[in-house]
Amino acid sequence: MTLIAAVAAAWLLVALAPAFVRLTGRYAGWPLAGGMLGVLGLVLSAWNPQQVVRESVPWIPALDIALRLRLNGLALLFAVVVLAIGAVVLVYSTSYLRQPRSPGFYGLMTAFAAAMLTLVLADDLVVLFVAWELTTLCSYLLILRSGPAAKEPATRTLLVTAAGGLALLAAVVTLIARTGTTELTTVLAHPLWREDPGFATIVAVLVAIAAMTKSAQFPFHAWLPDAMVAPAPVSAYLHAAAMVKAGIFLLMLFAPAASAAAIWSPLLVGVGLWTALMGAFFAVRRADMKELLAYSTVSQLGLLVAVIGVGTPTAMLAASAHVVAHALFKSAGFMGVGLVEKRTGTRILTELRGSGRILRWDAAMLILAAVSMAGIPPMLGFISKELLLDSFLTAAPPALSWTLAIVATAGAVLTVAYSLRLVLPLLPGRLGAARPGEHGPQARPWRDTRAMSVAVSVPAILGLALGAGAPLLDPVVRPAAAGAAGVDVASVSGVYLWHGVNAALLLSLTAIVLGTLVGLRLRGAPAPPAPQRWSGVLAVQHAQQGIIALGRRVGDLTRSDVPAANLVVPIVLIGAAATALPMLWRGWPRYDEPFLVLDLLLLLLVAAGVIAVSVATRRLTAIISVGVAGFAVVLWFLVLGASDVAVTQLLVEILTVVVMVLVLRRMPRRLRPSRPRRRVLAAIAALAAGVTATLAALVFTGHRELSDVAAFFLREAKELTGGTNIVNTILVDFRALDTLGELVVLGIAAVSITALLEARRAVDRPSGKGTAAALSNARVNAVFLTAVGRIVAPVMVVGSAYALLRGHNAPGGGFIAALIGAAAIALIYLAAPSDEIPRIERSYLAIAGAGIVIAVGTGVLGLLDGSFLRPLHFDIGSLHLTTALVFDLGVYLAVFGVILAAINRLGLSPADAVRTDRSSERSVR
């Protein structure tokens, strides 16, 4: 379990980072670097050249996802690069950072290293993807945390790399779906790659896109120079040695399988070389050392991508060697530039002239890195470039191979040129001297930046050492190349400094000579204006803004609070769906002739009401007209054999009118007029909806016998419940749960109304002045309603009680009873000579609550007989009692509560309302 331990240790470092920072401040880089080397030691101890090491811990067995790790040559190569460079950069950071505490920085840097380690060791598609995304995230946060100016670049970086991540996700999903496993080894060896060219092509392209975004290949390259706002350690690690290498790793990982797709090689070679040339071309003219290095990175990665596209064992060896070389010279380069900037306060080439003398060792190390970058012997950079050129030359067919080699050489010329430009100001003697009139930069003392100097020196010197002692690299790069090429280690040659005189050497020398000339020639040239990278940045920006603009337009489609605007879509949809109704037609429903005339009359009445409300221009007319339709519906219920429903509907109609009038006085008298266009469109929609509804009623209803459940009720209800009003037995016995819900709705409506009117007072508008002096006295005129109240209210109370008690056997029940009771309340309110008198202070909430408690409590009692809401029966002497009655009492109270709430809350005059508001404010404090 060494690999698991290594990965776990890497993540443990992440967890420990804040603690280290707390203990040692910015020097936390030292223990963390040590830890990282320890992890490297673990990985190396697990390494077995003879056999791939594989370990697995179950994670999501249901999906066959496991924490599978494997250590092969490729993984080893990248693990070494990631951990070693990581350690160096952490050391560098201890001195680079100026803030005493940066838990975020160290946490993210170690997290990044851990993610990279997980990525390269992953043997599970999901683990691979998770790690891949983590590197994206860490890089976003590392860039973002470098200051306000970093926000936009960080966002763009994230968007581009996340897009690539999604390409990888698509590839992963396709692979899982098609191969049925997430185990990388199995997936890569799957016969499907050769059997299904379509599959191979899709996955190859997706993987290539993912890798190209991460490795900053054209056209996704823009983010990398953009990300240079990040501090030097971040740039050195992420944008030179680690993150960009994730893409290279991915390509090398998939190369053996994906090369089955015809498009793989041309795609990589084409894009890679183009990027190499383009990056180098831009790099040559940069005046900012860091920018120069950024474009250099783009260019070098292009070469790597291209050579992976070639795919031969030699090519993969070249790629492996160049990964190491590039990691060394580029990390040294970025760190060196950071060091120069730290010591001199600038990284602009022209301002640095003459600084070589004062920077001494640091300048020398940067120059050493640049020499390796330029590919000058005996540096490692020379060896890897040789290999690269050799790979292109040996790529078949010859005509193409020479073209590739020449293009690569052109890139190399530019590389030499920009490397030279980079170090010219640091060079001793005339070359790097300040011009007349220029004062060279003042350098800070070396003491402050000791750790940085050490950190720059290590990779720079290693680039020299590994160049001279090239075979030392063999144990790492040969297995990696073999893995990436899909061959045995034996068929991969070793790395040598001296290949003898061959075409590659000649090209290489040509490049050095031409590059030097170009570099010297461009020495004094001003930096070109409009930096080209903005085009790429602009593209991302434009895409971002375009999407936002599109989104705003999409939002505009539904940006309306007017209900009509939101209802029109569903109405149209229902109408559209209804065109299918005729297909379901199955003849006319069963119908009894004798009712025809009566039914027609009711239809006429409903139509009269509907038309009246539709054309009404005044609120009063409208609510009266709706009442017409409501009354007609009451009659319909009566005609259809539902006295209970008719009575309920009638009561509801009346009480609705009472409440509506309370509301009406707070609204203008006229309805808001609709524009003719809206009226016409609404009328058309209405007509269609009417036809739809009619058709639906004809198609869906009236075609079947009495349902089983209805037959059961007719047959058994009396026997089972003791009640003869079947509807009521359904309400309080069989489907008491519906009724319970309904009474809760009522009770809570009272609470909601209270909440609403406490949150927001109802609008008030002045009522007109009284006009008839003789009749103006409200108190005197209250006699009529008061007198009627004296007669009617007792009848209502008795009637209410009567309805409650007998509901089980005849029309009545809790609802009807309560509605009658509520009518009594309405009467009391209406009869009172002022708005204030009839108010019942807030007890309606308690009444509604009591209703709920009683009903639910009764229901819970039913558990005694085995079930919630099971009515219990008692015989007290000859009297038969059932808890259904108590349940009905709950219903009663809930209905009562809501009516009281509405009347109490809406029935207030403005002065009263103010008073109530005060009291409610008091109540919530």
């Binding site: 999906l63 539904t558 749960l737």
Partner: protein, 506 residues
């Protein structure tokens, strides 16, 4: 477990709500009651998960009437999981609401308890008309919660938003009831178990149930009937938005899953409609989010988008697809609430959720940043959070089912999701990352007549709910196995409904 106790999961909150309605000025006891009941609710729901995790189904005919007559309550793994997560969310959001003031209104406990009862009932009932009733039981307290504000004065916006919310939901309920009527008209029953497979046998039943599904789709804010949600949700208080986001649309989604599974038995004939519509939902929703400039508007549009993902699971109707959809549903409830709560914490402290107003004003908020960031990444499907696994499974299911277009849309939408989340993150939290000091005006900021004092960081209590849920999404990501195994059991219950039907009609 005694099946007859099943209805108590509805009855107890109801009973408590009736008691809580008595709460007057000093109502600390009502809050205690509320929290106690909500905790008990979670325990009961977790117990149900435990009881149904092996695929068994708990059912009870309420009132003890014969099968087919009584209204059945049924709990299987799916409904038990929903109950648990919904209960959890409610508790977390309620804690936030209490900390952020809305919850200290004396009416709050009663309203939330009824809402809880409504949700529980809607998740348990196997009767379409009863479902209508429970949806209303959910809605009525929601109307009250929508305008609740301790400070005594709702905003214009909350009233406008309420009107839209109430109107639209009333329309939905009415259409749903119409659908129930049509179902009874053709099938002669509204008992879901009796309707098992009926839609597959009869196009009439299919059409009638289709009306119900359409109504539920409206409620779930599926494109093109999504506009109301994006407008109404941001208009209320943050705590309530968070609460609703986890409950209302999700109950509708649950019902869609259930009805399609039982009534249609997953009939392949109509699935293409779902794939098309839900793909459009993903895309349109996220585009809307990208275009918005307020935290909660962005998040509300994301709900629409994510609902597309969730429902894609039922539109695939494969074992992996359903399990992925259910996993996604549960994940989304948690993550979306977490996002709304961290946004709400910011809004509560700074008095606005408009990005332009917040830009540069928010100082260091490391805790909220991490909570929001984690939830946002989870929403966008970035590993290692639960959203990634949800999306991954869904994508695998889609590709396995040959729905490549839907998979591609789902992937593209992820990027747009990230883009819009970055919009919030950059505007609100970027400073926390870069470690700078706030440059905006320091001191009380007046907005909506409220003076908000700026303290160095948001009160911990405000941040805790979001953090808890963010931690949950990480836990569900790293420990996806636990939930996914349950989701598979739930999916199996939808694929083979004999257990469900058999429990109702033995």
């Amino acid at each position: 477990m005694n099946d007859a106790l099943l209805p108590l999961i509805v009855a107890v909150p109801l009973l408590a709500s009736g008691v809580a309605a008595f709460a007057r000025h000093r109502h600390r006891w009502a809050i205690v009651l509320l929290l106690t009941i909500l905790t008990a609710n979670i325990i009961a729901a977790a117990g149900l998960v435990w009881a149904t995790a092996d695929g068994s189904v708990v059912a009870h005919g309420i009132g003890g009437w014969p099968n087919g007559i009584a209204i059945p309550f049924v709990a299987d793994a799916f409904s038990a999981l929903m109950l648990t997560v919904a209960g959890l969310l409610t508790l977390v959001c309620v804690v936030f609401a209490i900390v952020a003031d809305t919850g200290r209104n004396r009416l709050f406990p009663a309203l939330v308890l009824v809402l809880t009862a409504g949700v529980n009932g809607a998740l348990l009932t196997a009767d379409l008309f009863n479902l209508f009733v429970f949806i209303e039981v959910m809605l009525l307290p929601s109307y009250g919660l929508l305008v609740l504000s301790r400070r005594g004065r709702g905003t214009d916006e909350s009233v406008t938003g309420s009107r839209l919310y109430v109107t639209f939901n009333l329309f939905v309920s009415t259409v749903f009831l119409g659908g129930v009527a049509l179902v009874y008209g053709v099938a002669g029953t509204v008992n879901l178990a009796e309707l098992a497979g009926a839609a597959q046998e009869s196009p009439l039943v299919a059409a009638a149930l289709g009306v119900c599904l359409f109504a539920l789709a409206m409620k779930a804010a599926v494109v093109p009937v999504h506009g109301w949600l994006a407008r109404a949700y941001p208009s209320t208080s943050p705590a309530i938005t968070a609460l609703f986001s986890g409950l209302h649309t999700k109950v509708a989604i649950y019902a869609i899953y259930r009805i399609y599974a039982v009534g249609f038995e997953g009939d392949q004939t109509y699935l293409w409609i779902g794939v098309a519509v839900f793909s459009a939902t993903m895309l349109i929703g996220v585009l809307g989010a990208v275009g918005e400039d307020r935290m909660r508007s962005i998040l509300a549009f994301h709900m629409v988008s994510q609902i597309g993902y969730i429902l894609l699971g039922v539109a695939l109707f494969t074992p992996v697809g359903l399990a992925a959809g259910i996993f996604y549903l549960l994940h989304h409830m948690i993550v979306k609430a977490s996002l709304f709560l961290s946004a709400g914490a910011i809004e509560t402290r700074f008095g606005t959720d408009r990005l332009d107003d917040l830009r540069g004003r928010v100082g260091r908020e490391p805790v909220l940043m991490v909570a929001f960031g984690v939830a946002a990444l989870s929403l966008a499907g970035v590993p290692p959070f639960s959203g990634f696994f949800a999306k991954l499974m869904l994508l695998v299911a889609a590709v396995e089912d040959g729905q490549v277009a839907a998979a591609v849309i789902a992937i593209v939408v992820s990027l747009l999701t990230l883009l819009s989340m970055l919009k919030i993150f950059n505007a609100v939290f970027a400073r926390t990352v870069s470690g700078g000091e706030p440059v905006g005006p320091v001191g009380p900021v007046r907005r909506g007549g409220l003076a908000v004092a700026q303290r160095p960081t948001t009160r911990a209590a405000l941040a805790v709910p979001a953090v808890v849920l963010a931690a949950a999404t990480l836990a569900l990501g790293l420990g996806a196995q636990g939930l996914f195994a349950l989701a598979e059991v739930a999916a199996a219950g939808l694929l083979d409904t004999t257990g469900y039907v058999g429990a109702v009609l033995p």
